[in-house]
């Protein structure tokens, strides 16, 4: 249903795609954030390239439609440009864990105050179903008809190791839960990432599996070690929720203190005065 966060762009996702769940969850999150004092003008979005990227066209929010694998780097620039903004990078698994993986690792390492929402469907769906960094071993697609021989990446364990201060996993089929995770991630000061299990109805339909296997984490692990253990857990259940959250110094404050290049910009007259002094 069109609403005040929708655009006039025609939605071209496949009917039933997990991306619809992510879009709904994000709209709910944006409204909850408004209730908590973050207005839409201060919520800025960015996307990469792939099926997920179209979310940019469907959300009536400010932002930038970035390159494949680069949305995480782009929002770091936005945050430095105006630290008052809440910046959100949407990415696919190919974006975040393939072509843009170095940006993920460095954003986590420096604890950049950004949020990355990864639409993780374990396939390159826009180019019609090739294997991706999170495809299961044995995944068959048009680029590997005999199946992949590679183990998939474990993005949560990787992000923990890289130093991310907020790590969560959501499921596109559990919209309210996902929406709450998004709110927490965006409010978290520091690098937050949500790996969203996103069924692709055409190329990697995981609805049945995740409807049966996902289980909300009762309590966020208390230690880093417990979080790692949970992230590497290969039990029958697939835990969703917050895996790890810790308060750490954030990059822009370490770099610039409380200075904001937009708010604290020297007025034109003062700049002219300074130039005259130098001359």
């Amino acid at each position: 249903m069109p609403d005040d966060l929708s655009t006039s762009a025609e939605n071209t996702w496949c009917p039933g795609c997990g991306n619809f769940g992510i879009l709904s969850a994000f709209k709910k999150a944006a409204r909850k954030l408004e209730e908590r004092g973050i207005d839409r003008e201060h919520l800025v979005i960015c996307s990469g390239i792939g099926c997920h990227g179209k979310i940019f066209d469907y959300l009536r929010l400010n932002g930038l439609y970035s390159l494949h694998g680069r949305s995480m780097a782009t929002v770091q620039g936005m945050k430095l440009g105006n630290p008052d903004l809440k910046v959100v990078a949407f990415a696919g698994d190919g974006d975040a864990y393939g072509e843009g993986i170095s940006h993920m690792i460095y954003a986590a390492k420096r604890n950049a105050d950004i949020t990355v929402i990864v639409h993780d469907n374990g396939a390159y769906a826009l180019t019609a179903g090739q294997f991706s960094p999170t495809s299961e071993k044995g995944f068959k697609g048009p680029s590997l008809p005999n199946g992949s021989v590679e183990e998939p990446l474990n993005p949560l364990a990787l992000m923990l190791e890289a130093g991310a201060s907020f790590i969560a996993r959501g499921f596109a089929g559990k919209i309210d839960h996902l929406s709450d995770l998004m709110v927490e991630a965006i409010l978290h000061e520091g690098f937050s990432v949500i790996d969203v299990l996103q069924p692709s109805v055409v190329f990697n339909n995981t609805y049945k599996e995740y409807n049966e296997r996902t289980a909300i984490i009762a309590q966020t692990p208390r230690s880093y070690e417990d979080a790692i253990r949970l992230a590497k857990d290969k039990g029958t259940q697939v835990p969703i929720g917050i895996f790890y959250q810790v308060s750490k110094p954030v990059y822009h404050k370490e770099l610039m203190g409380s200075w904001n290049p937009v708010r604290d910009k020297t007025a034109r007259n003062d700049r002219l005065k300074k130039i005259k002094e130098i001359l």
């Binding site: 390239i49 390159l67 694998g69 390159y124 048009p142 680029s143 590997l144 005999n146 992949s148």
Partner: protein, 386 residues
């Protein structure tokens, strides 16, 4: 020999596997995807027995090809648009290290705004990397050119990577008939790749060492000499291919109705093919016009264009723009004929972003240029009435 009806991408894949590369490394991007998927299909059916790797980015794809080529393997990859741009530094690397990698590039628009249709800014913006560049206009030409590309790239006097360009969708996804020779014919024509030097534990060599200015300038000079030699070699290789297969695609320029032409149109890629219909129409109206379809942009066919400039007034259509100056073919054509008095070169920018360029459009452009209205290169469909 068999006649198949298939898309440009699948014909390119067929040619690539018939050249029997040892290594193919690629990353998916629209509209290249179906080319690599066809190779994957041949690999799965064991009709292609080389190594085939799906990597994590185009930069990695070209890096893998460079490594494989340095180890003495025949290598192939394919990409498009932003994928080609992400390869940029490795394109220079492959050329400077004199590694005969062959690549198909599906000409697609560069974003933003995002658009998957055809223009040639992707490959034109890579023209100074040292790669030999072909622009095809039919699926048969794609087949013949990919096969010949390996022969040219691996020739002892050349040893440069070769990029075979085909226009997005107009060629990549359009089915046309193409004659495919027997595997034996391709084997006899190409033979195995025997590198002059390679990474070999029995006879160690290194690639990419630090060299000082005195040597570096010689490296560039040697590349330039190889490109200049390619101008002679490309038609020779095509003649040889004709002896083996019976098909010919090979001159730097394809000429059409140029013998008595007073105006000659220059264009590349699919616009070059569409222009033939326009030329026939214009001839039927009594205009003495011909077409010079530029197949090879690097090395640039300067001598052939000088000959055209001595014969006729030239009209250029570019599906690319060097922003701040002009379309690349227009600029380079003017430079080639700059010493010939009385020759005029007029030009158009057309078809950017995949905007259709029909034979009627081409007729309109040529007729307008015949009145001298396109001397400063007009943007067709944008400012044609200026």
């Amino acid at each position: 020999m068999s006649i198949v009806i298939d898309t440009g991408n699948r014909i390119a894949a067929k040619a690539a596997i018939m050249a029997k590369p040892d290594v193919v490394a690629a990353y998916p991007i629209t509209p290249q995807t179906t080319l690599v998927e066809a190779i994957a299909e041949y690999y799965a059916k064991k009709e292609f027995t080389g190594e085939y790797i799906c990597v994590e980015s185009e930069h990695s794809a070209m890096s893998a090809c460079i490594g494989a080529s340095a180890a003495g393997s025949r290598t192939f990859t394919a990409t498009s648009s932003h994928g080609l741009l992400l390869m940029h530094e490795m394109l220079h690397w492959a050329a400077l290290a004199r590694l005969p990698v062959v690549m198909c590039n599906i000409n697609r628009v560069i974003g933003p705004g995002w658009n998957i249709w055809v223009d040639e800014n992707d490959s034109i913006s890579q023209r100074d990397t040292g790669w030999i560049q072909f622009y095809c206009s039919s699926n048969q030409e794609i087949y013949d050119t990919v096969i010949q590309a390996f022969k040219i790239a691996e020739h002892a006097n050349i040893l440069l990577p070769v990029m075979v360009n085909l226009n997005a969708f107009i060629l990549s996804h359009t089915s046309m008939p193409a004659e495919i020779p027997e595997q034996r014919t391709v084997d006899d024509f190409l033979g195995p790749y025997i590198p002059g030097w390679k990474l070999d534990i029995e006879n160690p060599v290194t690639f990419g060492n630090i060299i000082g200015p005195d040597s570096y300038i010689k490296v560039r000079y040697a590349m330039q000499q190889a490109q200049m030699q390619a101008k002679q070699l490309i038609p020779q290789v095509a003649k040889e291919w004709k002896k083996h297969s019976g098909f010919f695609h090979g001159d730097l320029i394809e000429y059409f109705e140029c013998e008595d032409a007073e105006y000659i149109l220059l264009a590349m890629g699919a616009i070059g093919a569409e222009s033939k219909i326009a030329i026939k129409e214009l001839r039927s109206k009594g205009h003495k016009v011909g077409l010079a379809r530029v197949r090879v942009f690097r090395p640039f066919p300067t001598e052939d264009i000088i000959a055209l400039g001595k014969q006729a007034q030239l009209i250029v259509i570019d599906r690319n723009i060097s922003v701040g100056n002009e379309g690349a073919l227009f600029t380079e054509t003017k430079a080639a004929v700059s010493g010939i008095p009385e020759t005029s070169v007029q030009g158009y920018i057309a078809g950017l972003g995949g905007k259709d360029v029909t034979y009627q459009d081409i007729e309109t452009m040529v007729e307008k240029a015949m009145t001298g209205k396109a001397a400063h290169q007009l943007w067709y469909g944008v400012e044609e009435d200026r």
